[in-house]
Symmetry: C2
Subunit: 397 residues, 2 copies
């Protein structure tokens, strides 16, 4: 065997998202692109805001000397200052340039944070259902993932989290708005989680970290105000990106923000910058760093996603699907009407509808619909969803 054994094992437990994506490509070749309703991948269909396009044009027309060169591994001072100012306003905490490190997206940022924090066999607690790539990110650095179930409505189960915290716990990773459920954990949950972590930090005599993956932080509906985790716990690290709010997922631009209240701050930032360099990211892409700096308060039109959620959720609900109404991100996570959700996902495929089985997110019995697609794709899929609902007698229960 030539490749790494660990990677070989991981490849055998194939990614469900990828598998569905590939089956979808095959279906598209047979039926044509427009006749396949692909909800497998969370790939934003919206174009970046006009402000970004304009900034790109300005920079292309009037290039700045040296604008493609290396900069410090933490990123441009100007970009970090702009982000710090944005978070300072949002949180009323003394964020400065030194608290920000620019990263190759949120996926890059999470790998960097885990590398900076974890030693062999250190545990990171992750509420489930969850984005399964987290497992790889944690294991890349020798850490272990410790899953904790959420309640039926996907809200945080603080009791279960408390039970999971032990000597090997190093951090808890919270992804809100959540992929795959679209759930937003509320202020009270963060308050209780912060209190729990403070108490456990004392009990265990070691610092526990609250790492938040806030990649969907701007995709929030129903005029909800997203809680700011920094306000509830001092040792908090935000990892996020502009993949969704500015619709730039292919450009790999994100950041890490470390709370000014974090203890041993200098050492932690040094470790993060070191990890950013030596994991091979080196720095976040230069051009994108420049473009996003002045756009911290901009975003794509969130209402478009909200309208799609409304359309999709209301229709599926009417057909009898069992769904927790999501308040953010661009996912629906319905319960399958039969235990074997893989079989149900196949049923949907017979209507040329592509979704991902819940076991791809640690939650068999459910399936994920990614609806960052054209409205017509949603509309086109509805008759198929309806027929399958009728076949399974879902409306009658």
């Amino acid at each position: 065997m030539a490749i790494s054994k660990r990677v070989k094992n991981a490849l055998e437990g194939a990614s469900w998202v990828r598998k569905m994506f590939e089956e979808g490509e095959a279906l598209k070749r047979i039926y044509g692109e427009d006749n396949v309703f692909d909800f497998s991948l969370g790939n934003p269909n919206l174009e970046p805001p006009a402000s970004l396009k304009k900034a790109l044009k300005t920079l292309a027309d009037q290039p700045i000397s040296g604008m493609h060169r290396y900069m410090p591994n933490s990123g441009y001072s100007e970009t970090r200052k702009a982000i710090a100012q944005y978070i300072a306003e949002e949180s009323d905490l003394p964020f400065e340039e030194k608290h920000i490190v620019m990263t190759v997206g949120a996926a890059g940022g999470l790998n960097v944070v885990f590398k900076a924090l974890l030693d062999e066999r250190d545990e990171v607690i992750v509420p489930s259902p969850y984005f399964m790539e987290f497992k790889f990110y944690i294991e890349n650095c020798g850490g272990e993932i410790r899953l904790v179930e959420t309640y039926e409505d996907f809200s945080l189960n603080l009791k279960a989290i408390e039970d999971a915290i032990g000597d090997r716990t190093k951090a808890i990773l919270i992804n809100s708005p959540n992929n795959p459920t679209g759930t937003i954990y509320d202020q009270e949950s963060f308050r209780q989680l912060g209190d729990l972590l403070k108490r456990k930090t004392k009990e265990l005599g070691k610092t526990l970290y609250l790492i938040t993956d806030e990649a969907y932080r701007r995709i929030v509906f129903d005029q909800i105000k997203l809680p700011i985790p920094f306000l509830y716990y001092p040792h908090a690290i935000r990892v996020t990106s502009h993949s969704k709010d500015l619709s730039l997922p292919g450009e790999r631009i994100g950041y890490i923000a470390v709370s000014p209240l974090c203890e041993e701050f200098d050492e932690l930032i040094s470790a993060i910058v070191f990890a950013n360099r030596t994991l091979g990211f080196v720095n976040a892409p230069a051009l994108m760093q420049r473009l996003v700096a002045p756009l911290q308060k901009n975003s794509i039109n969130i209402r478009e996603y909200e309208e799609k959620r409304n359309l999709f959720y209301n229709a599926l609900k009417a057909y009898g699907y069992d769904i927790v109404k999501p308040q953010g991100a661009f996912y629906l996570f319905p319960k399958a009407p039969i235990e074997d959700e893989v079989a149900f996902v196949k049923e949907l495929q017979s209507k040329r509808i592509l979704t991902v089985p819940g076991r791809g997110f640690g939650k068999p019995g459910y399936f994920r619909i990614a609806y960052a697609v054209e409205k017509k794709t949603i509309e086109g899929s509805l008759p198929g969803f309806k027929e399958i609902a009728e076949k399974y007698g879902m409306g009658r229960r």
Copy 2:
């Protein structure tokens, strides 16, 4: 202690390049930017070629719908095809799209290749002097670096390499043109290395890989023709970037090319794409993938670097410095006139000349000069180099 113990240890063995860079910043604050001659960092001073600027302008003026979205983790088909075609022409080997994976620079690419290949305690042989980040890249995946000395003229010592190959060997990493020496390993060296690896693969009953870091592959002087490693060994993997040839180091755009002659090719590519995704790179920056696709035969004006090498090398040689004449990259790696090269580097600092001690590259007694700087910086530094040479009686030996 809050951060990872491994990272804490690594931080204590600080990077010499970084250390010098920081001392330089301090000197610049005192004496002014123009009065400090900073040769610490290999940060190309040349602007990207006009063709790249033009391509950026075209794309900014006429954005392509969806051009910032996710694409397959291996990159755009069009970009991979363009690179495959370029390498096919160069090597006369049947390179196709499927042999290419776009990466976040060469540093990202190397991490991906090591992750795909290495298991715990697998060894990677690296000729020294060497770019010290390699050690971190290899250790990130649980591997171990095995250093092998080169000859006095920095050419490959095949005997030493043969002695280093054993049961734990998985690969040899060759960086040519070399950082820090500027050495190009010649055709005969690659032929002998290929033969050795073929023989050892048979003897050990396992595949050994030849990984080449070709980040400086276009920065070649004296009309030398750079050997194509693919021609000398089937299990060869090229990792490179457009950081130097198109002067885009801050943009993080590079690629991995796997030889079509590589055994178990499909599995290897699957492992590489998986590693690219799960290490958090996800994909190479989208915009840059588009820009570099048609520019595979373009580059900055290499003659500018050659002229700088000539100016710098000839002057230092005349002052009595002991230097192997480099044939590529943009580094000089002279021998210090005293054993303690750190002390000598400090002497140069007294003339506001910043270089990096050889121990930062596994070679005490030498120092590195990175000359991808303005000509006036080189010229301004020469009186200082001369004075120090006289102080140490270098011209007289």
